[in-house]
């Protein structure tokens, strides 16, 4: 077994530099790599490009990097929950590329899989199609979309082991598995780092081969964005 364990988030983030491109898992605030984001804020690296479905909220998630103006460019599908984001975008401080959510997921998946590009119907006839190659298949137009190229992927899983095997929980899975192995270095933070051999190989979502560094995260806040409940009758 190849041991992927690093002792803490500082070691996990070794090698991050100004101007790099990062992938960050999560949907809204669910399943975001909280520890890695906190460390990126701490390191105060600048001019980074972030590939992430959302941009956090003003004071949590990627919003923390936005507050310190560390992000040069965001590649996302939906950014509606962040006022600071909107301000930076409209003022031109922040470069933003909005792309369809399925295209975002597949561009991660393609990078993970060694597929340089693929065709998708999403976005044909819209702004998203501008400047892109297109082609007809089965009587329908499709756009050529390219795999992402990123330096680090920061993902968050529920359980993991020293081999880098990962299991996700609920809808916190989202983009995390697609980003594993989609960047030069994949850093996985887990809520629970368990001894090798205790995870059932049948139940593993992401095999350790896609992960370079793994550590047990601390103090997960797991903030809920839209608390919606029903009352007992």
């Amino acid at each position: 077994m190849i041991n992927k364990i690093v002792s803490n988030v500082q070691e996990a983030c070794q090698g991050v530099k100004d101007g790099m491109t990062f992938m960050l898992g999560g949907f809204g605030l669910s399943g975001i790599p909280e520890n890695s984001i906190a460390e990126l804020v701490q390191l105060n690296i600048k001019d980074v490009t972030c590939i992430s479905n959302n941009a956090g909220v003003d004071d949590f998630g990627l919003g923390l990097l936005l507050q310190k103006k560390q992000i040069k460019k965001m590649i996302s599908s939906y950014v509606g929950e962040n006022a600071e984001f909107e301000r930076q975008m409209l003022s031109g401080e922040l470069d933003v590329e909005l792309i369809p959510q399925g295209t975002l997921a597949q561009r991660c998946q393609a990078a993970q899989s060694g597929i340089p590009a693929f065709y998708t119907p999403a976005g044909f006839g819209t702004e998203v199609a501008e400047g892109k190659e297109f082609r007809e298949f089965h009587g329908k137009m499709h756009l050529l979309e390219k795999a992402f190229e990123a330096d680090f992927a920061f993902v968050k899983a529920w359980k993991g082991d020293a081999a880098g095997n990962l299991i996700f929980k609920g809808s916190a899975r989202n983009f995390n598995p697609n980003m594993c192995g989609a960047a030069t270095i994949t850093v996985a933070e887990v809520e629970e780092l368990v001894p090798v051999g205790t995870l059932d190989p049948n139940q593993i979502h992401i095999p350790g081969i896609f992960v370079q560094r793994i550590f047990q995260g601390e103090k997960y806040e797991k903030r809920i964005e839209q608390l919606t409940v029903r009352t007992r009758e």
Partner: protein, 218 residues
């Protein structure tokens, strides 16, 4: 009387058939789940990675690791499954989802839809809407027939940036049920007490009216 948002959802729920996998957008579409007949077997898909979505949790039972695409806390029903985002959109692009219901700012008579951007004003992003409209065979749009200024949102041509082209099949508005046929809005039903004249006045795009137009039934 024009329909309320709840009534729009209630009318759309009648389009949901037994055995359907359904994706609901944010807003009025989310309400549709409340009105689907209880004896139908229907599974709701949420594009952030849930199939078999249930109602909101009871207070105190919410789980930050279990949300829908609107980031609301939810529950799952027996038989539910979780999956990653790429697989979620395999369900969508691969046309495994039977019905997509979403909101719109504008729809054109050839079935184009605009619902993600108002240049210079609202730039939130398209989320999964472009993938959904580009692939789904069966798309129903839930919308208000006119904007707050009373201007039609059913147009000959959309003025806002498009989400997809020639994709909308059916529209349920607060005034009418319409189908897109041969580059026109074909009037199928009108809201109870709403006259054909009212619908004509509220529709800027080409409107086809053939024979008697029945009132909607709930």
């Amino acid at each position: 009387m024009a329909l309320s948002k709840q009534q729009i959802a209630q009318r759309i729920a009648k389009e949901v058939k037994d055995g359907y996998y359904v994706n609901l957008g944010i807003g009025i579409p989310t309400l549709v789940a409340n009105f689907v007949q209880k004896d139908l077997e229907v599974d709701f898909q949420s594009e952030n990675g849930v199939l078999g979505m249930g109602p909101f949790p009871f207070e105190g039972e919410e789980d930050p690791d279990l949300i829908n695409a609107g980031k609301q806390t939810i529950t799952t029903l027996p038989g539910a499954s979780f999956f990653d985002s790429a697989m979620s959109f395999s369900m969508i692009r691969g046309q495994h989802v039977d019905l997509t219901i979403l909101g719109a700012m504008e729809v054109s008579q050839n079935g184009d839809i605009a619902n993600w951007k108002i240049p210079g004003k609202m730039v939130k992003g398209m989320g999964g809407a472009m993938d959904l409209v580009a692939s789904a065979e069966n798309i129903i749009v839930a919308m208000m027939h006119t904007n707050r200024a009373g201007e039609s949102k059913l147009l000959s041509k959309c003025s806002l940036p498009l989400t997809g082209v020639k994709c909308v099949k059916k529209i349920v508005s607060n005034l009418a049920v319409l189908e897109i046929v041969d580059g026109s809005f074909k009037l199928l039903e009108r809201a109870p007490g709403v006259s054909i004249e009212e619908i004509k006045n509220a529709t800027e795009g080409n409107l086809i009216i053939e024979g008697d137009i029945p009132e909607m039934k709930f």
